[in-house]
């Protein structure tokens, strides 16, 4: 996080954002008609050129958040301000001039690249659609962006199937960046890649971010990748942000019991080889359904700290330090982890 005397206006300001999907009936709740509370009242800021990581388990609402911000999804309620403009309620047509500025990169470049389109066509199409370069200059710009992402410009004639996973993901990144966005929403962009290749793409994203000043919303279940890439991190559980902080605070001093459990569960070579395996926090039970989340704090059914108040009162996201906010009734008391959990939450070894 920056500590400028006057921080710049955020590029993206999300307030009390909600997305409810109609629940599909399942065998267990065949008559009950409710709503999946995929994203249920979240707020965060992202400054120009900043990087915010969103982590959390499957189904916690990460992808939905990304799709809302990119306006691939219509919010149920709440506000999304992008560069000063409220975009939460814009129609497709009204969004059109802004589309270019918010680009998405997905996990599976197989799915997001048309298999019958060459790399060149995949990159030229958005350039033409947004009329970013004069018609005669499209070819040159395509070669430029290929070089930007470290691909041989001769790849223009190749089809996605002829590329490796890492190369395909570079093409997806090139396509997003070709139109000079101000924000890239990347949903698990390196999760499908092998680690040796994943590191290439992470470095590439880091370089591009520095050179181009693009802001990133990085959605990932990989806490190590997020620590590496993001300045700030938000942890989601069941449609809510339960903790958000600058990278260093979050990883060295996680305060929410869920974040602590998450970090203690990550398999890590260093912990494994040094034998300093820290006490793992086991979460009892299973994640509750997002159709009928628990009353009060949503984490209470699995939380070892839960008290009576947790079932009654929904804890707000409270500021612990200017860069660290936690939604837990006992967050203020979390200066130290309790003795029996000493060192449990991802303290660096």
């Amino acid at each position: 996080m920056t500590h400028d005397p006057a921080p710049p206006d955020p590029l993206l300001a999300v307030r009390d954002l909600r997305k409810l999907f109609p629940a599909r009936p399942t065998a267990r709740r065949s008559r009950f008609q409710g709503a999946v509370r995929a994203v249920d009242g979240i707020s965060f800021d992202l400054r120009p050129g900043g990087t915010l990581g969103i982590v959390g388990e499957s189904g916690s609402g990460k992808t939905t958040t990304g799709r809302l911000v990119a306006r691939l999804e219509q919010p149920t309620s709440g506000s999304i301000r992008f560069a000063g403009t409220e975009i939460g309620a814009l129609s497709r047509k009204e969004m059109r001039p802004l589309r270019r500025q918010i680009q998405m990169v997905f996990q599976d470049p197989y799915g997001s690249l048309n298999p019958r389109q060459t790399v060149g066509t995949a990159l030229a199409t958005p350039l033409r659609a947004h009329a970013l370069v004069p018609a005669g200059g499209v070819g040159r710009r395509v070669r430029e962006v290929l070089e930007l992402v470290g691909l041989d410009p001769r790849h223009v004639d190749r089809y996605p199937a002829d590329l490796s996973g890492g190369q395909r993901q570079r093409v997806a990144v090139a396509r997003a960046l070709a139109v000079e966005p101000r924000l890239v929403v990347a949903d698990e962009p390196v999760s499908a890649l092998d680690v040796s290749v994943q590191a290439q793409v992470v470095n590439l994203l880091q370089d591009l971010r520095r050179e181009l000043g693009v802001a990133f919303l990085l959605i990932s279940h990989d806490l190590a990748v997020v620590r590496h890439f993001c300045d700030d991190v938000a942890v989601m559980y069941l449609g809510r942000i339960v903790e958000t902080a600058d990278r260093d605070s979050l990883y060295t001093r996680p305060l929410h019991p869920y974040t602590q459990a998450l970090m203690s569960a990550v398999p890590d070579v260093r912990r494994g080889t040094s034998g300093e395996r820290l006490h793992r926090i086991r979460l009892p039970g299973e994640p509750p359904s997002p159709v009928s989340p628990p009353s009060g704090c949503r984490f209470r059914t699995r939380c070892w700290r839960a008290q009576e108040v947790c079932a009654q009162v929904d804890p707000p996201l409270l500021e612990i330090t200017p860069t660290h906010r936690v939604a837990c009734h006992f967050a203020g008391e979390f200066g130290a982890v309790p003795a029996d959990r000493e060192g449990a939450p991802g303290q660096p070894g």
Partner: protein, 341 residues
């Protein structure tokens, strides 16, 4: 390494090829290892390195019309390679069982999970349905399914991914096999669920003394659970040894590169250190060392041998149980910033 005699699983010179129109895909070439009862062997490698092709061969599950398997796989003394289907059927489940990455496709969608575990038991034991059902409930309880007796009546889609994988593990263990082969058993699961399932595998293994072959692309996952590791690259073993020792002091450039490129949860560096390039095609693997096109050390090896001669997998001198496949002289350090203590 142990002798084949006291091993639960002894693999010698295992080779798996898939004939295609474009030529043979050499998925696994000359793989040898043994696993003792109660031991865990971690088999690690990137996607396409031949892990699944090898794991599949351990149970004789390759379709003979699509794959050519040679070499030897001895499960509790019985040869799997070339065995006839009735022999394999007796072996599978009873002596060697598999846990797959995707628990959903490993379970039948239409039957209650308890019944599926019971049927797996009845396949090898002449017991009544009622007794098998009892045994299934006990097994589901053992793998940590809450309220096992009532959940036994659930269909797979009524269970979470983690619970489904527990059911698959219950099915694998119900006959007390000598060997369990788990191919990326936690890759599809959330980290907290993954940690639970890894703990479970370790516990039941300690209880039953089964030998475990744990296949994964994630070094972190086996760092804590495996006794020994075998690193695969382009279908071959390139390094092997005691798990902690191997991860703390890799002796072969690929393993070293893999560790270097893994971002660390406990500390942050300005830049990651990737391995350049990408893994080779197994249709036309490179001559010499399969890793040489990506290897930062190949140029320093005298005579350019890395590009022409395949190094043998040989013991590292002065070290117990360590093997590596590399031309680089043993005393050349692989670099600063090694992972581990």
């Amino acid at each position: 390494m142990t002798s084949a005699a006291d091993a639960a699983l002894a693999v010698r010179d295992l080779t798996v090829r898939f004939p295609t129109d474009a030529g043979d895909v050499r998925a696994v070439t000359g793989l040898s290892f043994t696993v003792r009862p109660g031991q865990t062997l971690g088999v690690v490698g990137e996607s396409g390195s031949g892990k699944t092709a090898a794991a599949t061969a351990l149970l004789g599950l390759h379709d003979p019309r699509r794959a050519r398997v040679t070499g030897s796989v001895l499960v509790a003394g019985t040869e799997v390679v070339g065995a006839r289907e009735p022999v394999l059927r007796r072996l599978r489940g009873r002596s060697v069982a598999m846990v797959f990455q995707d628990p959903t496709s490993a379970l039948h969608p239409f039957y209650p999970v308890g019944r599926q575990v019971a049927e797996a038991y009845r396949a090898h034991h002449a017991v009544s349905r009622a007794d098998a059902a009892e045994r299934a409930v006990a097994m589901l309880d053992r793998v940590g399914i809450p309220a096992a007796r009532s959940r036994a009546g659930d269909h797979p889609h009524q269970l979470s991914g983690g619970m489904r994988q527990r059911v698959v593990i219950a099915m694998a263990l119900v006959n007390g096999p000598a060997v369990v082969v788990a191919d990326e058993p936690t890759t599809a699961l959330d980290v907290t669920v993954q940690a639970d399932v890894l703990d479970l595998l370790r516990e039941v293994q300690q209880e039953t003394g089964t030998a475990l072959v744990h296949v994964t692309h994630d070094l972190g996952v086996v760092a804590e659970t495996a006794d020994r590791l075998l690193v695969m690259y382009a279908g071959r073993a390139v390094e092997a040894g005691p798990a902690r020792d191997l991860l703390a002091r890799p002796r072969m450039p690929y393993t070293w590169g893999l560790l270097q490129s893994t971002p660390d949860l406990g500390a942050r560096e300005e830049r990651l250190r990737p391995v350049p390039g990408s893994p080779p095609s197994l249709l036309t693997p490179p001559d010499g060392c399969p890793f040489h096109p990506r290897c930062a050390f190949a140029e320093t090896v005298p005579g350019g041998r890395c590009g022409t001669d395949l190094p043998d997998l040989v013991p590292v001198s002065g070290e117990t149980g360590r093997l590596r496949r590399c031309h680089l002289p043993e005393d050349v350090p692989l670099g600063e910033g090694q992972v581990g203590p």
